[in-house]
Each structure stands twice: as C-alpha cells, then as structure tokens.
C-alpha cells in the first residue's frame, strides 16, 4: 500500500529487550486481570437496564474509537490495534499493548423525579497486537467485556402482620441486585491480500458468570418479633464460541490527490452459549441450594459492523460506522429477566451508529511541539438496546464523546483520555433515565519485539 505517509507511526527504539514502559503496561494488565474476579463480587452500581437479558452489551473500540463516537470499523492506524475489525490487524509495524480503564458516574431518575447516584469503575479492555510479516500479516489478542450486569435497586413495602398477637404493620424492602457478565477473549490474524484489501479472522471465546440476587429484609423494631430475611441468589455460568471475519478496503485520491478513504466491515457469527444455573437460598454457610443445577443454552445472533473513514490529510481522521444484530432471534432455554421463551416481545434488533473525528495538528511531524502532537477527538453515537423491560418502548442511548491522545516521553506510547456523557432510556412509564458521565483512560505502547537487531 503506498499510503504510508498518512500513518502516524511512532516507532520505538527497535531494541530486542523490552523497555520499562512495556513492563509497566504488562504489570498493569496483570493487575487488572487479578483484580477482576474480586471486584466483580460487589460491582452492582451500574444501570438497572443491565438486569435484563444477558446484561448490557458493551462497546469496546479502544482508546481512539472511544473518543470518536465508537465509529471504529474502518479505522486504520499503525498506532492502535483496532479491536473491532480483524482486517485491520494486517497492517502492524510494532508490537502494541493497550489497556483501558473507565470510571463512570451514573444518575438514575424516574418519572417522579427521584434520583439516585452511583459510581463505579471497570476494566474496559486489553489489546495486544504484533506483526508476523510487517504490514502484511499480523496477529492480535484482546480481552474485553461482552456484556455487563451491574445493578442494585430496592422496593419498599408494608404489610400487616396478620397475627392478632402482633397487630402492627411491618415494613420491608425487597432488594434486587446483580453483577458479573460475559467476557470475551479474541484472537486472530489479519492479512493484506492486496495493497488495498486486508482481511482477517478471529475466534472469540465468550465466558462469564451472571449473578442475580434478591433479598427480602424486614424493618422490625427492637421489641418486635424477629423476622428472618430471605436471600436468594442465582448464579449462571455461560460459555461459548463465535468467530468474526473482517475486511478493510482502502482507496487513495478519492476527493483529492492526497486523501485516503477506508471502508471496513466485520461480521460475527451467531453463537450458542451453554450455561448452568444454580439457585441458592440463604447466606454463607447456611446457604441451601434449591433443586438441581439447571442446564441450558442461549443463542445470540450474528452481528454486522460497517464503517467508513476519511483521511483528508495526515492531520484529520473522519469516521462513521455502526453495527446491527438481530436480537429478536435470541432464544434461551434459561430463564432471563425480560425474556419470554418463544416470544420476541421486549426484544429488539440492536443498532449502534456513531461518527466522529480526530484532529492531530502536527500530522506526521514527530518533532513538533508537544501540544501539536496531541490528538483531539470528538464524536457522537446512538444505540438501541436489544432488550427492554417495557415491550412497547425501546431503550435508546445517545452519547457524546471527546478526548485527547497524549504523546508521552516514551516513543510509540500514547495516553488516551476520553470523556463521554450520555443519556439512556426515558423517565416515564415505570422506566428510568440514566445520565452517565464516563472518564476512560487507556495506555497504548508500541515497540519492536521479536525482531533481531540488524546491527550488533
């Protein structure tokens, strides 16, 4: 491909031995992996909409895509490993590692004006990519959440004891909470079959545990008879595989002599998640398992992602794209909140579209002043969730994002900071409106690994 000048390749020093920065990223990745299982135990401070189905589907577009409205299917950069399109993995010059973390503040409000505020943080994804044949054949591995369950809500009530010996009313609260979700590990290859065509394929391993709980607790007075609380927990373990095939097409000189256009597509096959569900009653050592383990499966649909990006010159990246998935075809033999077997009511075909731009004042000038080498990003996106607790109302999310790609003192490394603000759902008809503010940060390091220096 002759368009290399537009690729902002910030190469590392080309040493065979990894730098301290790379070790730092590896340590960060290892730490995030180690912390994940423990943290998941208490991660209940997300959207109530994540209760339904297999949780809220997550969008991981990397440090660059998150800032431009998740429009990442056609992004073509030597600085980032595109997590959405295996076709883009063909063009890799350096070994790259990136890890992202997001912190979210969430404000939930209902039609009465009641509001609750929650905050939580989570690992947003890890990507590793390296070339086998430089800019010809590349490999990428990734770990990112596929869906997330994270909610906690309570309903208060009062009931009459019914006992003439205890004629008082008793208050109670039913708490509902959930955590966990499905994770995805992706690994695959990208190959440049033609100077303008790159294709790729990836195998996706899906796995995870979804915990849903319900507890009934009583507010009896000190002198009242004791009530025993009810603690019910359902743990569903799921696993399955799917595959993604991607392609990236590029054309130079579309609107001007030196511009550059890419178009990308990624198709993910439908998958069947096998699952086992255990329901238990009680707490800790007093926990009783109710019945036998329930086995079943969940069929999730295919997904098609499309995108286009336009590079007028080395300073600008304009991107747009989206994806669709026919979730009305979802079938599950395991009961899921909001899902009725054999009935697509409440299900929708998921749609996500977004667009945005990135502006890098320095373009390919690696010696420009530091502020000029900052990448400025802005984007918007909209999506429709695949499931809704109200069969007549789709849950839609509108989000705006802005961010910076900060160069660092380590050549080839960037720190991406992105801010997103969005609104999900509507505070009407028993639904709620989520207003979220998300700050994400990812570290992206590229170096030459696995290549013997030519000069000793």
């Amino acid at each position: 491909m002759p368009l290399s000048p537009y690729f902002r390749a910030e190469s590392g020093p080309g040493r065979f031995v990894r730098s301290p920065a790379a070790y730092a990223v590896l340590c960060l990745v290892a730490g995030l992996f180690a912390a994940a299982p423990a943290g998941a135990q208490d991660a209940r401070d997300g959207s109530l909409y994540s209760r339904f189905g297999i949780g809220a589907l997550q969008v991981h577009t990397g440090g660059q895509g998150a800032g431009i409205g998740h429009a990442g299917y056609a992004l073509h950069s030597l600085q980032y490993v595109n997590p959405n399109n295996p076709g883009a993995w063909a063009d890799q010059a350096l070994t790259r590692i990136s890890a992202g973390f997001a912190y979210q503040s969430l404000e939930i409000s209902d039609e009465t004006g009641e509001t609750s505020r929650l905050a939580s943080g989570q690992l947003s994804g890890i990507q590793i990519g390296f070339p086998i044949l430089e800019r010809k054949l590349g490999v990428a591995l990734g770990f990112a959440p596929f869906s997330r369950v994270s909610y906690h809500v309570g309903n208060d009530g009062v009931f009459y004891s019914g006992d003439p010996a205890r004629p008082d009313t008793v208050g109670y609260r039913v708490n509902f909470f959930g955590s966990g979700g499905i994770q995805q590990i992706t690994g695959g290859l990208g190959y440049k079959v033609h100077p303008n065509i790159r294709v790729g394929a990836a195998l996706n391993a899906l796995f995870g545990i979804i915990d849903d709980g319900r507890e009934t607790i009583f507010f009896e007075g000190a002198s009242d008879p004791p009530f025993l609380d009810t603690h019910l927990e359902t743990s569903t373990r799921l696993h399955g595989f799917s595959a993604t095939f991607g392609a990236l097409f590029s054309v130079q000189g579309v609107l001007a002599d030196d511009d550059y256009v890419t178009a990308g597509a990624a198709f993910t096959l439908p998958a069947t998640l096998s699952g086992e569900r255990v329901t238990s009653l009680g707490l800790n050592l007093d926990r009783d398992t109710l019945g036998t383990t329930v086995s079943g499966s969940i069929d999730i649909p295919w997904q098609l992602g499309l995108g286009v990006a336009y590079y007028p010159d080395p300073r600008w990246t304009l991107s747009a794209g989206g994806k669709i998935a026919p979730w009305t075809n979802m079938e599950s033999t395991i009961p899921l909140p909001g899902y009725r077997p054999g009935n697509e009511q409440g299900l929708s075909n998921a749609v996500q579209i977004g667009t945005g731009f990135e502006f890098l004042p320095a373009g390919n000038d690696l010696l420009a002043a530091w502020p000029a080498r900052i990448a400025y990003r802005f984007g918007i996106s909209w999506d429709r969730a695949y499931i809704s607790p109200d069969r007549d109302t789709n849950i839609e999310t509108l989000m705006a994002s802005a961010g910076f790609g900060l160069p660092t003192l380590v050549p080839g490394a960037r720190l991406d900071l992105n801010m997103q603000v969005g609104m999900r759902g509507a505070a009407s008809d028993n639904l709620v409106r989520d207003v979220f503010y998300r700050l994400s940060m990812s570290v992206n390091i590229g170096e030459r690994w696995f290549q013997t220096p030519k000069l000793r």
């Binding site: 943080g121 989570q122 906690h152 309903n155 010996a165 004791p226 025993l228 639904l431």
Partner: protein, 384 residues
C-alpha cells in the same frame, strides 16, 4: 468484568417499578391448628417434691394424690454404734393447691418394694405396707413434723443403722384421709430425722412420685383441653399448611412463624372459692417432630401474656416450617424441663422448677373456638 472502583451514594429505591413483578414480597398466612390431642408423656428429671392430698376443685373435679418418696441414705460410725431412739419426718411445705384454710389428715405407709423414679409412667403404683401412723396439719403450715411410732423405730433400728440403709428402706407413701387441698413438701429442708441419743442423722428427701387418681371428671366447658403439670396429659396438635399458601414443590422462605394458643383463665377464675389456691401453668415449651419421627426437638418457650395467650415464635420454628411445610408437623406442649431453667429460677421455691412437681393446670381453648382457636401465623416469601 471486574469493577475496580466501586462507590455508591444515595442508594434510593429509584427504578423499582422497572422490574415489574419480580417477586420477593412477603405474604401472610393464617393456618388453624388441629384439635388438641392427649399424648402420654413421661416426665424426666422430676424434682423430688412430695405431693399428697385430696382436693375438690369446682372447675376441674376431684383429685386424690398419694405421694411416694424416699430419702437419701446417710450413715456414720457413731450413729451405727448406738441404738435408734426416735425417728420423725420433718416436712417443709412448699406448695398448696386447694383450700388453703383446710385441715389436712393423712396416713403414712412404708413402701415395700424397690422402685425407680426415672421414666415412671403416669399411673404407676407400688406395694406398700400398713399404716405406720396418721397425722394432721393445716394446709398453711410451713413445717409438718411426723413422729414415727416407737414400735416402727425399734423394728427398723438395725436397718436404719446399716451402711446399706438406702437399699433396706424403700421409702414412704403419704395417703390423704381428709382435707380439701393437695400440698407439696420439699424437696429442700425436708428430712427423715433419726437420733441415737449420741448422734443424729438428717436424711434429705430423695426421689418422689405422685400417684394421682381423679374421683370426678372436670366440669369444664366444651372445647377446652386441660393440661396439668406433672401429670399431663400433654397436648399434641399438628399444623398443615394449605396448598393455597404453598404449592407443592415450590420453594419458599419462611420469614416468621408463630403458633398461638389461648388459655381460658376466665373459667378458672370464676370457679375459685375464697381461699382456694390454684396456681396456673404460665410457661410452656413447644416441642416438634416430623411424622414418623419419634424424637422431638424443642423449638421455643412461651409465657402466658396478660390476655391469656401462649405465643411461640422464633427462628427455630420458622426453619422447621420452612423445611417441613409439605408435611403435617406435630407439636407438643410441655412443662419446661427444670434442668433447662436458669439457676435463679431453680433456687426459687416459687419457680417453675417446682411447678414441674405440682398439679398446676392450664385450660386451653381447643379447635372451633372462633377467634381463640389455636392458629399458626406464617409470613413467607415465595421464591418464584
């Protein structure tokens, strides 16, 4: 995916309506208990209080109680070296049921066979000899001294001074002759006192057992169940949770359960003449077993409240019902086992430790007593 930072403020119940009918709401169920049935109960750990007397209770009928008892054997070399000159029973009255102004007359007999107090069924009796002596006292007397005749003393001199006196003398029985009360003696500060002139021994009360016969049935209203401490019968009843509350096979969680039984204190109060003492059972233990099981577990204790109710509740009862809700659970009411009572109560003569050896009654409303029908109140949460 792992959440690494988790924070939460203002965890209000915003969005609860979003969940729809997600369950978890507790419901109440009122289940009538079965009719009370008389179950035989063999008390153990019976305190050695000697009950004896005859009473004509206007509400509960006529009783005659023969009091079997023995003494704890003691001996000494100096006592064995002498000749027993006198023997007398020194009995401390600790209980009265009936006319407290009554003059009591009783006869003392010697038990002629070996007997064990443990696991005696209600109605057991033992062979006795002729009357040793008769004695009289007032029901209000706190100390009754019964001298034994010289002939009996001379006849039993050797046995009384034998080291094996505990096996040679099997005890005594007090038979009522006249009076309108049942009294209880001991167990503390009541002795068989024997003297040789140079030495004396005070044998404390050992075992005791009351043989109760009813001369006239109780004249109580219909729909009542009479339970009397020490002699029973023990009320037994069952609880079956209806399918309206619990669909077979559907799991549930029992949040609270209580069983309420009502005592008819009015009937007893209206049929109590002047100076007629009739202490009531005021504390009961609830025992339970599953059908087919023979062993019981104790689930709770209840003391009658001001309205005459025994309310049994607690985690043990709730767990029992949760685990056995598909079965007919069988319950029994018993007097508290004195061994299980706090030391402070045991040391009190007026405590239930001694009521265990008494005729204290409680008149319970049985099934079909309208609002006082025994009933179970259950709060449960269906799981699905």
């Amino acid at each position: 995916m792992g959440a690494l930072l988790v924070a939460c403020d203002d965890p209000a119940n915003v969005g609860g309506d979003l969940l729809g009918a997600a369950g978890g709401e507790p419901v109440n169920a009122v289940e009538p208990l079965s009719a009370l049935r008389a179950a035989e109960w063999t008390p153990s750990d019976r305190p050695a209080r000697v009950l004896a007397g005859r009473v004509d209770d206007p509400a509960l009928g006529q009783y005659e109680v023969q009091g079997y008892f023995d003494v704890t054997a003691l001996t000494s070399e100096e006592f064995r070296a002498g000749v027993v000159e006198s023997v007398e029973l020194r009995l401390r009255r600790t209980y009265v049921y009936g006319d407290s102004t009554s003059t009591m007359q009783a006869a003392l007999r010697q038990i002629d066979e070996a007997w064990e107090a443990d696991d005696l069924s209600i109605g057991a009796s033992f062979a006795t000899g002729p009357v040793i002596t008769e004695f009289a006292f007032l029901a209000t007397d706190t100390l009754v001294v019964v001298p034994l005749p010289d002939a009996w003393v001379a006849e039993h001199d050797a046995a009384l001074r034998n080291e094996d006196v505990g096996n040679l003398l099997h005890g005594f029985r007090i038979d009522p002759i006249a009076g309108n009360a049942v009294v209880g003696f001991g167990p503390q500060r009541s002795f068989l006192f024997a003297s040789t002139g140079s030495d004396s021994l005070s044998h404390p009360l050992g075992r005791a057992y009351p043989f109760v016969s009813r001369a006239a049935p109780p004249a109580m209203p219909e729909g009542r169940f009479l339970m009397q401490a020490g002699i029973g019968p023990t009320p037994e009843f069952s609880l079956s949770v209806s399918s309206e509350v619990h669909a077979p096979g559907d799991p549930l969680s029992v949040n609270r359960a209580s069983l309420t039984l009502w005592a008819d204190t009015l009937t007893l109060r209206q049929n109590a003449p002047a100076h007629f003492e009739r202490p009531l059972i005021r504390t009961l233990d609830l025992y339970a077993r599953a059908p087919g099981d023979t062993s019981y577990v104790v689930l709770g204790r209840s003391t009658m409240d001001e309205e005459g109710r025994f309310v049994f509740e607690g985690p043990g009862l709730a767990r029992m019902i949760e685990d056995r809700i598909a079965e007919d659970m069988i319950f029994e009411l018993r007097m508290p086992n004195p061994v299980s009572l706090p030391t402070s109560l045991v040391s009190d003569n007026a405590s239930y430790y001694y009521y265990y050896s008494s005729l204290n009654p409680v008149l319970l409303y049985d099934a079909d007593a309208d609002e006082r029908t025994p009933a179970g109140f259950i709060t449960l949460t269906p799981i699905y």
